[in-house]
Symmetry: C2
Subunit: 248 residues, 2 copies
C-alpha cells in the first residue's frame, strides 16, 4: 500500500552472523537509510560464505527487486568470496580492475601489496567501483546490485558514496501513538480505523514495562496528510474507549 516507490533487498553474507558470533547491524542501518530516500526495503536475507548460496540468493533477489545491497565478503582473506560469487551470478568474468589495483597499490608500502591484498582489486567485468571515504578497498556496482563491505564503518561510507546515484521516491512518513494498555483492548477499534484508511499502513507493537503492558500504534504512508488523518482517527477511537494516549 506504499505505492510505486522503488523496491530493494539486502543480502548479508557471512557465517559469523549465522553462527551467532556477530549481531548484524548493517541491515537495520540500510533499512533506515533506504527509508530516508523513499526506497522500500522488501526483504533481507542472511546467507553463509558459500558460493552456491550467494549466487542463488543474489539471482533470486536481483530478479525480484529494483535494487539489491550486499554486505560482507570483499576483504583479502580466503573466506572473502563475494566478488567471485557475484561474477558467477552475472555470468561475467572477473579480474584485477586497473583503478582499484592502482588505488590499493598506492596504499601499501613497497612490498606489502601482497597476493592476498590484490584479491581486493578483483572486480567482476563491467562493474563500477564504489569508492569511499573509509577504505581504499572499493565496493562495486553491477547491474542493479551494490556490493559493500561488512565492516559497519566502511559499509556506511559506501552507502554515502552510492546515495547520490540512487532513485529517490516519496519518503514514508509515520506517526506513533503510544498507549498504556495491551493491544487486545483496542484491537477491534484499530482494525476499524485500518479499514477506513486503506491507503495507510497501521501497525500495532506491544511492549512491556514495569508498570504494565503498552502498545505503540504506528500509521505509515507516503501521503503525510492521510497518515495524520489515520492517526487522528486512532486518537479519537482511543478517547471513545477512555484510553489515554500520547504521541511519540
Amino acid at each position: 500500500m506504499l505505492g510505486d516507490n522503488k523496491t530493494a533487498a539486502v543480502m548479508v553474507i557471512g557465517d559469523e552472523i549465522l553462527s551467532g558470533r556477530t549481531q548484524d547491524s548493517n541491515s537495520h542501518y540500510i533499512a533506515r537509510f533506504l527509508g530516508s530516500l523513499g526506497i522500500d526495503l522488501k526483504e533481507v536475507r542472511v546467507v553463509s560464505d558459500d558460493e552456491a548460496e550467494i549466487v542463488a540468493g543474489l539471482n533470486a533477489l536481483r530478479a525480484r527487486y529494483d535494487m539489491v545491497f550486499t554486505t560482507g565478503g570483499i576483504g583479502p582473506t580466503h573466506d572473502d568470496i563475494t566478488a567471485d560469487a557475484v561474477a558467477k551470478a552475472f555470468d561475467v568474468g572477473i579480474g584485477y580492475h586497473p583503478e582499484a589495483y592502482a588505488l590499493l597499490e598506492a596504499r601499501y608500502p613497497l612490498g606489502e601489496f601482497n597476493e592476498m591484498r590484490k584479491r581486493m582489486a578483483r572486480i567482476p567485468h563491467g562493474a563500477a567501483l564504489i569508492k569511499n571515504s573509509a577504505s581504499v578497498a572499493p565496493g562495486f556496482h553491477i547491474g542493479n546490485v551494490f556490493v559493500m563491505a561488512g565492516v559497519p564503518a566502511v559499509m556506511r561510507a559506501m552507502l554515502e558514496a552510492i546515495a547520490p546515484g540512487l532513485p529517490r521516491g516519496v519518503e514514508v512518513t509515520s506517526v506513533t501513538v503510544s498507549v498504556d494498555v495491551p493491544e487486545g483492548r483496542i484491537a477491534a477499534g484499530l482494525s476499524d480505523v485500518q479499514k477506513a484508511n486503506a491507503g495507510v499502513s497501521i501497525g500495532s507493537y506491544p511492549f512491556y514495562q514495569e508498570s504494565g503492558p503498552g502498545t505503540q500504534l504506528v500509521t505509515r504512508g507516503r501521503d503525510a496528510g492521510a497518515v495524520e488523518v489515520a492517526a487522528l482517527a486512532i486518537e479519537a477511537m482511543l478517547k471513545e474507549l477512555g484510553v489515554a494516549s500520547t504521541r511519540l
Copy 2:
C-alpha cells in the same frame, strides 16, 4: 564442512523491521540458541506482513531445511496474519484451538475476551501448541515449522519450551585468536592453514580500534581437537611472521 548436524532457518515476519523502525534481535538470539544445541542455522529471511510473502518464504525454507523458526505476527491485531499464512502454506484449515481458547478465556476478566483477542486462539489444524512461561497466548508447531511471538521476552520463553523436543547435534566449538595487524598482512598464511585443515572453518574478521586495525581469526568445527590444531597452526604461522597474538 560442519558435517551432518540438523539445519535450520529463521523467518522474521514484520514490516517494522524492514522499515527500520525496530532492529531485530531475535534472529541473533536464535542463532546462539541453535548453536548451543548443535543445530546449524543456514539462512535468515526478513519478510513483510504480507500473506503471499510469508507463504512463499515459508514454503521455500521448510522444504530446504530441517527446521524453520518464525517470529512475529501472532498477536490479536489486524496486522497479525502469521497463523493464517502458515495454514495456507501447509494447505490446512484454521480455527479456534480448544486448549488455546480455554487458556486465553481464563486469562481475561469476564467480558474482556473480545473477538480480536480470540484471534490468538486461531491455530492451523494439526498444529501443536507452544505454551510458555511469558505469555498465555501460545505459539504453535506444525510439520517442521515453529511459530513464535515477535516480542523478544515471549519469543525466548517459547524457545525454552521448544528446546527439550529439538534434535541435538554436536555443538560447534570455536577458538578466537586476536592480532593487532590488518588481515591482509596474514592472509596468505591463513589461507595455507585453511588448506591444511579442511575439516575446520576458518574465518577472518577485521576490526578497528584507536590504536589501529586488528583482526580476529576464528577456527570453528564440531571436532574440538581439530579446531585446536588449526588454532595452534595459526599461532605458529603468526609467530613465524613476528606477529603477536592473544587468545580471546
